[in-house]
Symmetry: C2
Subunit: 347 residues, 2 copies
């Protein structure tokens, strides 16, 4: 028997979730020695990802949305890298790394059917290519795919254009900026601290500003003198309202997320929408879960960029699964700097 620490969804929050109230830690026992039926295997979680969209899953299960509600009293789940420690399945062998929607607990018993439902795939590349395992839930995981897909499939980015990225230092934003730069765009970003802004300039953004201390409207006028052709929308609300007035004709707004709204009891309304018509804008939302077909090209492209040292990727590591609630809250309040991950076990 080993202790299996779990992260439990325990109450629906109405604004910001509180650790110990809406998300709690449970310690249960896990029998590593119990015999496995055919097709069963046990994993230990190596690293897990906390992401903004999880706030949307912390809702009453009767409300439908793109990602299923977390189940009250049950472990949360999310993108993780796990390692198989015991297997009676022909699909996985001891030592394999798996990527997919893992449970937020130290040990999980899967079988081939449940594993395939959660899209667990063997991903042993980090064993040999020197890329950190945590990258596989970040720049090479769901957020990375989001940046890549958003830019190409939705944003239709073109060399010479100007892109503006909000929440630019985050898991999605920092990669979106670096891909855009590699593609030949002028890249402008905003983030919520001086440290984040300095980092954006270091990794090649043409310009960056702190939207908390600077005037966004004035900064966009100054830093996007030819207007904004593509807006990578991560924030929503007042930010969107201002950016709309800076868009160029035939501009695209990549509707990725609106994190400024997720914890508001009453979301804000947005002005300046007539710009969508008068400037012939395309404002298109997407959810990356719909596009597994885009993953292989993305992995090829971005793995190569990483190996070629053409990309840097900032992460915040929280140690210990019991600190997952705080790690998630940090993402929702902007305390994370870069991709927020939780290191659950040593690799």
């Amino acid at each position: 028997m080993v202790t299996n620490t779990q992260v439990i969804f325990s109450k629906v929050p109405s604004t910001f979730p509180v650790s110990g109230e809406h998300i709690t830690i449970n310690k249960s026992q896990f029998d590593l020695e119990a015999p496995l039926a055919e097709g069963e295997f046990i994993v230990k979680t190596l690293v897990l990802s906390v992401d903004p969209y999880m706030r949307g899953r912390m809702r009453d299960a009767s409300i439908k949305s793109y990602a299923p509600a977390f189940i009250l009293g049950q472990p949360m789940d999310g993108h993780s890298v796990m390692q198989v420690i015991k297997s009676n399945s022909v699909k996985t062998k001891e030592g394999d790394y798996l990527y997919g929607m893992g449970k937020f607990e130290e040990y999980t018993k899967w079988n081939d059917k449940t594993a395939s439902e959660q899209n667990l795939v063997v991903r042993n590349d980090p064993k040999s290519n020197g890329i950190p395992v945590s990258y596989y839930v970040g720049v090479l995981g769901m957020p990375g795919l989001t940046a890549h897909y958003g830019l190409y499939a939705i944003g239709n980015i073109k060399k010479g254009e100007t892109i503006y990225i909000s929440a630019a230092s985050g898991a999605v934003g920092q990669l979106a900026g670096q891909i855009s730069k590699a593609h030949g765009l002028r890249v402008v970003g905003s983030a919520g601290s001086a440290e984040k802004v300095a980092y954006l300039k270091e990794i090649g953004f043409d310009a960056a500003f702190n939207y908390k201390t600077d005037d966004t409207d004035a900064k966009l006028t100054e830093l996007c003198p030819n207007g904004v052709d593509v807006y990578f929308e991560n924030v929503g609300g007042k930010m969107l309202e201002i950016v709309l007035t800076h868009m160029n004709t035939f501009g695209r707004i990549i509707g990725c997320g609106m994190i400024s709204q997720y914890n508001l009891a009453k979301p804000e309304k947005v002005g300046n929408l007539m710009n969508i018509v008068s400037k012939r804008l395309k404002f298109e939302g997407f959810i990356i879960f719909d596009h597994p077909e885009a993953e292989s090209q993305f992995l090829k492209d971005v793995t190569q960029m990483i190996l070629d040292k053409k990309i840097r990727y900032q992460e915040t590591h929280t140690k210990g699964i019991e600190n997952t609630p705080e790690a998630l809250l940090d993402v929702l309040t902007g305390k994370n700097f870069g991709k927020q991950v939780v290191d659950v076990a040593n690799v």
Copy 2:
């Protein structure tokens, strides 16, 4: 010498324009007998179109937008059918009907260069096909093309889907509904009077309601039980905010216009925008002036539908060019029923 009555843009309005103040009538003299230089010709205006977008042109010329500002002190212009009454041009002959951006005056002298800048084209079809000349500024003119292009190129309408159309009895809306119906969609519309709603049902809308007396949210729930796949957005503001909550995943919003906002000193803000992301909506604006290439297919399709009596088209005729200011104001306040035209001369 004949009297040439002209409609003059005389002052920039801040809310609704007022006839006699922001738009005035001028009577000048026109010499029909003066000799014409090579390439010159004279037209008399038969019918002219007043359209919502004209409100946007009544602005300070320093503000850039998709259509040029009207020039203070000069005749307004807009889509018209004109007849050539004298010509020294090889491109037009006496008696020809022309369609394009005519001046809001009874007589105009053009030359080949200015005529081509205003996209004047010979359109003699109504001389032989029995279709009223006024249709060529409505169902077969700019508003008709807007409906056709919006549905196909932006809305990507598909058989079996539900479309909701606001300002549905208008110049654009009534055709959009009938094309959608012919294409196999469920078609729901709203308009601002009982008479307009009754008309929508007569011409084949599956359902229609009066957004002024009915609750839009409740009506959409009732009349679009499977949600809205395509929203033909003519109105903006509160209407858009409500429709967003009725959209289906992967729905399209055809960003055609936001007439409820054109006369507000301070446009409204709109809530529920997170639906664009969570439902993967595409909200795309367009301006029909960008798409002359779409005209020939449209004319072919819709002319045939009219000749086959598959389409009905409601118009409001105002007699006399001196009543143009009121006709435009009627469109902006919803007093028009169907396409608003001004009959300037007998055909």
